[in-house]
């Protein structure tokens, strides 16, 4: 099936599921690779375009987590493919659908052209990387004790006390430790951010929802999303490597991803 045929077939469908916006008008058509094996193609306007597939004008929904995960993988997969062909793309959040046919998409690209183009240029040759810095809890505790003698004293006192009294005091100790480790983590996060700053274009701290098994016994100090120029990935990796080699520390460094966290248009 040719690209035109794909479009023809989709004509009767009144929605377009958008994966991303790309710079350029190279041919792009992938059969059966979109959500639910949809045929994915490019709709161009001037020198930019939208990667999409035709679908009914209603959102994809499912109660089955696995189904949705599959969709999410498809979504990401198409964005990866598009990135291979066109370089950095503007990725869309999952389940973004334009009402209307290809003409509606062209019309919409036309309206948003300047903003989209500007953003594509800004993100050119950059990609998103995720960096998580872990540390052994004991390491952190040692640092805290070394810094704050009152906590160390309290610990010593507890060890000498009768058990029940010690229990209550222990609570106090734990609270103090918690506050102190929070403070030290904030401080460390700032230090690492400024350390990485010279290798990245932008850096953000992000929340992390799950931590892989291999890091489970460590404490997550900070998690960053970084926007990195292709040429700088090596030096960033180098700096992370030196932290990773420190005893008690571990780094998780993943990417490259499309710049999901750094597209600034927000709503188009």
């Amino acid at each position: 099936m040719t690209e035109t045929e794909v479009t023809q077939e989709g004509l009767h469908k009144e929605g377009r599921y958008i994966y991303c916006i790309v710079n350029g008008h190279e041919k792009f058509a992938v059969r059966n690779a979109g959500l639910d094996n949809a045929d994915v193609y490019l709709v161009s306007y001037e020198d930019i375009g939208a990667i999409l597939h035709a679908c009914p004008a209603k959102p994809y929904e499912s109660k089955e987590e696995n189904k949705v995960k599959e969709w999410l993988f498809n979504h990401n997969n198409i964005i990866d493919k598009a990135s291979d062909t066109f370089g950095t793309v503007l990725p869309f959040s999952f389940d973004s659908i334009i009402k209307g046919d290809d003409d509606a998409v062209v019309d919409w690209l036309n309206k948003g052209y300047e903003e989209l183009k500007k953003e594509l240029d800004r993100l050119k040759d950059k990609a998103e990387y995720s960096v998580q810095i872990f540390c052994e809890p004991e390491k952190l505790a040692d640092r805290i004790m070394a810094q704050d003698s009152t906590i160390a004293d309290l610990k010593e006192k507890i060890e000498k006390m009768p058990k029940r009294t010690a229990y209550l005091l222990h609570r106090k100790f734990e609270l103090k430790m918690k506050d102190a480790s929070h403070a030290i983590m904030v401080k460390l996060a700032e230090e690492y951010a400024s350390l990485l700053m010279k290798h990245v274009e932008e850096i953000k701290t992000v929340k992390v929802h799950h931590v892989p098994e291999q890091f489970k016994d460590k404490k997550l100090i900070v998690s960053f999303s970084c926007l990195v120029l292709k040429d700088n990935v090596k030096t960033l990796g180098g700096t992370l490597g030196t932290i990773n080699d420190l005893q008690g520390y571990a780094i998780r460094f993943t990417g490259p991803w499309a710049p999901f966290s750094f597209t600034k248009i927000g709503e188009i």
Binding site: P59, K63, L90, S96, K99, H209, P212, T254, S261
Partner: protein, 316 residues
């Protein structure tokens, strides 16, 4: 080190896929981060509620739920009655509610049926209060001053010990009807607490602070924060309810097994992470809420008392 892109990494990145990236504007687009079903299931599974709310994903769901709710209720605006339930009496009235800082009369229509006594507000439709007749133990009609005028109010006490103070425009008629409908003799003497003052004990009060206390769910009441004062003596802690000045919680320090200030898990009306004082004792845990520095004061005073009890002379 080299960045990795394994399957697990992609899996983790799915969060970002849901939260970030461009979103469409609603106008020409049916947009769509905010789809009810998908949103709820998936994002709850993957991203967690917080992110959902942060990104407005729940709004659409919330809106559609509310629409559905109001449709449902417009359809059956009549009073919700059970099968075989018939209304005996109906009259305009109110109930005295004191929830947190707000104390007020809630208005509606009182219904007495063969099963229940309830206060129903039509618009917006809500059941303000309801109780099964079998739970009523005492009923007392008392004259009270309401906005400088005297009127008759009913006090009902239920099997859980809770007392409801209600006003019904035809209170005498209701009183009679309730007694008949219940079909049992109801006590008509009710201890309506007068107001003792504290400290009234011979023990010395070491500390006194304003604090909220979390009443556990009991009978017809949900968990509720109630305002009052916390008192510490050398031997015990007790808490006095502001409304009636009664001691509602009391614990001797030698029963306390743990004491801490913690950030709260979900409890009614408080934001996650607000500081609470947790007093654990064998068989339970009492929660108090106050200004953070006052909580700290209470906690450290208690620590001192307990420590002093166990190791006399340790606190100087």
């Amino acid at each position: 080190m080299e960045p990795s892109r394994g399957e697990y990494d992609i899996n983790d990145f799915l969060d970002v896929l849901l939260d970030k990236g461009l979103v469409l504007n609603a106008d020409l687009i049916i947009s769509v981060a905010g789809i009810p079903l998908l949103g709820v299931n998936l994002r709850a599974a993957i991203a967690g509620m917080e992110t959902m709310l942060e990104y407005g994903i729940m709004e659409a769901w919330d809106k559609s739920t509310r629409e559905w709710y109001s449709e449902e209720f417009n359809a059956k605006m009549e009073v919700p009655l059970g099968e075989n339930e018939t209304v005996i009496l109906r009259s305009f009235g109110s109930i005295w509610r004191s929830r947190g800082v707000i104390s007020a009369w809630q208005l509606g229509f009182w219904y007495l049926t063969n099963n229940r006594l309830f206060l129903w507000r039509k618009e917006p439709a809500e059941m303000l209060f309801e109780v099964n007749l079998s739970k009523i133990e005492k009923i007392v009609l008392r004259k009270e001053v309401h906005f400088k005028k005297e009127r008759e109010e009913l006090y009902l006490q239920f099997d859980c010990g809770e007392i409801a103070r209600i006003h019904i425009s035809s209170s005498r008629e209701f009183e009679k009807a309730i007694k008949i409908a219940v079909g049992r003799d109801l006590e008509n003497e009710l201890f309506i607490p007068s107001s003792p003052t504290y400290p009234n004990d011979d023990e010395e009060i070491v500390q006194e602070k304003k604090a909220w206390y979390l009443f556990t769910a009991k009978g017809i009441l949900n968990e509720t924060w109630k305002p009052g004062r916390i008192y510490l003596t050398k031997k015990r802690l007790f808490w006095v309810y502001q409304m009636d000045n009664q001691k509602m919680f009391e614990i001797s320090f030698d029963k306390v097994i743990d004491l801490k200030i913690s950030a709260c898990n979900p409890v009614p009306s408080l934001k996650m992470g607000e500081k609470l004082l947790e007093v654990k004792y064998d068989g339970g845990c009492a929660l108090f809420y106050a200004k953070t520095d006052e909580l700290n004061e209470i906690e450290s005073a208690m620590h001192c008392i307990i420590l002093e009890q166990m190791c006399p002379g340790i606190v100087r």
